[in-house]
Amino acid sequence: MHNNNHQKGLVNLILLIQITIAVGLMLFGFIFQAEWAEKFMIGVGMIKPMHTQVDYYTYIKGIEYLLCFYYFLIFPVFFMFINNKKAAAKKPVRSLQMVTAIEVDKIKQ
């Protein structure tokens, strides 16, 4: 392939996403089966009985802002990935007709 590097990058990214999902699922299953995890979460305040709306808001806003922080880390990376003109310049833009033609060719063969 003419842009080996780019392809490699893509494969790596897909791999990374898959690993993240797998680890996430494992963690999810693990946490929701384990008694200790619940105790831990109560201990650190993740599961806390909320008696007042004020406490509840303090808690949910804290989580929201933390998520926003991570979003700010992810978004620029995603933007650069999409908007990478070096990579895009090396690949011809393929229209639907072209893609279909290729597929049709394949089927014919």
């Binding site: 619940e38 007042t52 004020v54 908007n83």
Partner: protein, 313 residues
């Protein structure tokens, strides 16, 4: 408290089956009225009919909290009559850095004796001071007190802005160790151990009745019912600012006895919730929106140069 943990436990045991139920219950918990508040929260109901203006509560508070010496003895009743010099707007006495509670006198034409009203922190169920504090210096304890931590306070005085009852006061006199001064329900010295605050204990007339907030509401309603001519049919603090731990009974309209009757019945946090929900939206939507605008607006130039602007691009 128990209930909720058990809910979670059954959710955990039930795995995904329980998820929907829990999510639903959490969702409904977002409505303002659905928070049960601390069930054993204590409170005080102040009966204006009983208060004789003896200022015993002021004296007891002063000693219990180690506040500075007053300008006049606590058995000097001339303080009721003289509008304080230098006071803003001549609005009568208010709590300040030297006193957590004050009693004011109201001469009203419709009753033959003067009416006295004690004021102090009302210890809201959804405290405005706590809502507005950006360093979490306030805590609502399960016992019902709203306490303050001077170690983290920055002195921004937003709590004073937010409090609908004008209660937190600032130690303006100090440059190096200023702090908020406010009634804490004698939390450290008494309430924590299940004892009533000093003012309640000092009150000879039992104008202050200490007890569980739920019981106090019952007592208040009973007094109104048994003496309908003696009270207006309203317990101030039952719903004001979302409900307060300190409540009042009065023989006259509360407005005449110096209460702010315009205090909204919703907790103060309800007024900022709209903005608070917009914040994460802006934080998440704006990056893509404006990056998109940029790409749309500069398409020509980018095609021309094929260069990489770097940074986000």
């Amino acid at each position: 408290m128990k209930n909720k943990i058990i809910n979670r436990r059954s959710f955990i045991k039930g795995g995904f089956g329980g998820t929907a139920a829990t999510v639903l219950s959490l969702k409904s918990a977002r409505a303002a009225g659905d928070f049960d508040h601390y069930p054993d929260s204590m409170g005080v109901i102040v009966d204006l009919n009983r208060c004789v203006g003896c200022r015993s509560c002021e004296a007891a508070c002063n000693k219990e909290q180690g506040l500075p010496e007053p300008e006049k003895p606590f058995n000097d009743y001339s303080v009721f009559d003289a509008h304080e010099s230098g006071g803003h707007g001549g609005a009568g006495r208010r709590t300040d850095e030297t006193r957590y509670t004050v009693v004011n006198k109201y001469e009203l034409p419709e009753i033959d004796h003067p009416l006295y009203r004690k004021s102090q922190c009302n210890h809201c169920l959804e405290p405005a001071c706590l809502t507005s504090c950006f360093v979490n210096a306030y805590t609502k304890t399960p016992e019902g007190a709203v306490i303050y931590n001077a170690d983290v306070c920055v002195g921004c005085r937003t709590c004073m802005i937010a409090c609908p009852f004008y209660i937190p006061t600032f130690k303006y006199s100090s440059a190096f160790s200023p702090r908020i001064m406010k009634c804490i329900f004698c939390y450290d010295t008494r309430l924590k151990e299940g004892r009533p605050p000093a003012c309640v204990e000092a009150c000879p007339q039992e104008a202050l009745t200490f007890g569980k907030r739920v019981d106090l509401l019952e007592i208040g309603r009973k007094r109104i019912r048994q003496n309908p001519g003696g009270y207006v049919n309203h317990i101030y603090g039952e719903n004001e600012a979302g409900g307060t731990a300190w409540m009042y009974l009065s023989p006259v309209d509360f407005g005449e006895a110096g209460f702010d009757v315009h205090v909204p019945h919703e907790p103060v946090i309800n007024f900022v919730r709209d903005f608070l929900s917009i914040v994460p939206m802006v934080l998440v939507i704006w990056p893509a929106l404006f990056a998109g605008f940029h790409l749309l607006a500069n398409r020509k130039e980018q095609n021309k140069h094929h260069h990489i602007d770097g940074g986000e691009e």
